[in-house]
Amino acid sequence: MSARTFTAIGTRPVRHDGLDKVTGRANFGADITVPGMIFGAVLRSPHAHARLVSIDTTAAEAMAGVKAVLTRDDIPETFAKVVMGEAGTIGLHDMGDNALARTKVLYQGHAVAAVAATSLDIAQRAADRIKVVYEVLPAACTLDQALAPNAPILHEGLRTKGKATSDADGPTNVAMRIEMRRGDIDQGFGEADIIVEDEFRTPMVHQGYIEPHACVARYGEDGQVVIWTSTQGHFMVRDSCAGILGLDPAKIKVVATEIGGGFGGKISVYLEPLAAALSRKAHRPVKMVMTRGEVFRASGPTSGTTIRMKIGAKRDGTLVAASTTMYYEAGAYPGSPAGGGAMCCFASYRIPNFSIEAYDVVVNRPRVAAYRAPGAPAAAFATESVVDEIARRLGMDPLELRLKNAVTEGDRAPYGPTYGPIGLREVIETARRHPHWQAPLGPNQGRGVACGFWFNAGMASSAIVILHGDGSAAVVTGNPDIGGTRAAQALMVSEELGIPVDRIRPSVADTDSIGYADVTGGSRVCYATGMAVIQAAQDVRDQLRQRAATIWGVDLSQVGWENGQAVALDGAPAQTPLTLAELADKMASTGGPVVGRATVSPPMAGPGFAVNICDLEVDKETGCSRVVRYTAIQDVGKAIHPSFVEGQMQGGAAQGIGWALNEEYVYASDGTLQNASFLDYRMPVASDLPPIETVLVEVANPLHPYGVRGVGEVPIVPPLGAVANALRDATGVRFTELPLSPPRVLARLSKD
């Protein structure tokens, strides 16, 4: 792909939604009010695992101010399936059962009933008066418990997909087995001069978005439903609510509010079906907002894992064999990112012989949801720790070892297809040259590096570009903005049409007002929705060419477009070029308004690679570690708005650092979550972190007209390994269990 010079792409305008956000005017889910609105609250199971014997709502219904009470009897069991982009056809049964338990509760916090009342206080007090009889069952709250012989079984009918049917067929908590192999690992390990093997554990963690889930649903007398919600995918909300509640989707409109963080955790529905069902029963609009405790207990954290990793190398550092067995917690229903972990764990390196076995295991914890590169951070933690150890034992520079084995274009990805142009070598070489790599370390400090990889989704998107008579424009898509994509879309339109970016209004439209869009996720919006935006802008350009042809009385084929103007091509009668503004002014007389549109469904984008360098200082008396310097280097394809790309890299690094150092779900032995608050679920704050330096490397993705690669998820993949490797460097001790919290570090250092 030839290097293209851009005029708008790569600049850093102030984001269009910025003013509303710095003045408090931006409307998030909880800020929506609708006339006549009442308030919903949810009654949740105190038990990790129990049969629902009976629910008596009489006392709740009798309370003044209570307008509706919802139980499983109000929502039919659904076997509906919807097609959702790359997740394929998904059954809504589990999502619906998760939203409101039917026969069993499968985690502490599992919703069992809901109340709508004239005030939130009344709704909560009424919910407390609902009498639920539970038959408490033994719980399997950890991987070890769920995998043990005679483990408590969450789903009697669950059988392991991917296992040979000749194996013993009985109740199990293993929902799926994934296997990938290449070459001959016995021979490969036989050729190795050094083999390192270890078992790694990562905790269940939460995406930690600051905005709790929130929505308002209004069910009209005619069966029309409007839902305002903070979500990463309002078309997904429409389809899910239709399927779960047995409604015709044609009667549902969903409006996406501003969203206060998602990171994958808002790609499912929790409150929306309940709010809609309550509204139907109460004949009033119903607002529902999760408390922070509910967010921790009853939304979708990501899997804790146990990963055994074994890698063999020759003396010169060439990796020859690798094998891994990976267990991922799915939470209450099948669906962990074990597949993602399996596909990513060896994605950065050429390994001729490998064996990967990954297991999706249900446990009595909240149903996991996606969290930024799902499956990959834990997998990379294991791989990068072992690679680091190999480098140490061989006396090799850790970046040299990685570079020696780094994949490049033409290599085969572990999951089969061949890589196109990719930037792993470039980012490693950039890291080697970076001043951070050479900087001296102080006392009690260590340095660690790690690589990371993530695919980028394609999926379906729609875009409309509207040209106004004054030469300004609007761009409309169906993808909620979690990364600054509205501003990026305005830059793309500006690039294509030459309209100044501050005369372009980008927006996210509701499900009535724009064509279908798959969820905002998978780092896909700049790539796939961006493609649709570019094509829609080009559609405007082509319509303007036609208008110029009309004005000049020539054929369309004789009209070109250069520098924001329609020009007569060679061979056509000479004409003064017509600017976009002039053509816009004449829209009415040359055929009417000009609206460009495009829809796309591209394949997965070129994947992204990153290297992170972490300097950690350890206080050996307290076990407390702090990151004192951090550099993130990533192949971003083409940075549409560099500040936003940097922001993704910094934010992902901070999340990864938190995951490595302090974040974890802490459970009591009875399966109750002990730290469901921001006080005890310890995410990084400003004083925990240094500045996070970012280096953007651009190896163009040939699948996209500007070379864009999705950038949002790769950043969280390297930090777990980088931090753990830094701690190894600082202490001489290899820590294989996260988080590297002070009690854990201190206990281990004291032991040694």
């Binding site: 790359e86 994934i178 192999r181 994958g264 669906g335 799902p374 999951y415 969820v519 780092s523």
Partner: protein, 86 residues
Amino acid sequence: MAVVYFPSGMTRYTDGVDQLHIEAPRVRELLQEVLARYPDLAVMLESMTVAVDGQVYHHPDYVPLTSTSEVHLVPRIAGGSTALRS
């Protein structure tokens, strides 16, 4: 003839066969042929998608194939969306 590769975890459903040459104009016909030969694959195929010549497609049915196309069956990844498998 296009070649379709089965990952090792699926070869138990294909009598150990890990690659197959199939004449088919599009992915849809290719998968129909595969399922006709190995019906047990159906349950695993629900959680897989298809890469053609290096590009992973979310909706692969009508992707055209040439006489040299390489097709890989690939697990559907979460990629930021719910990792649900039905």
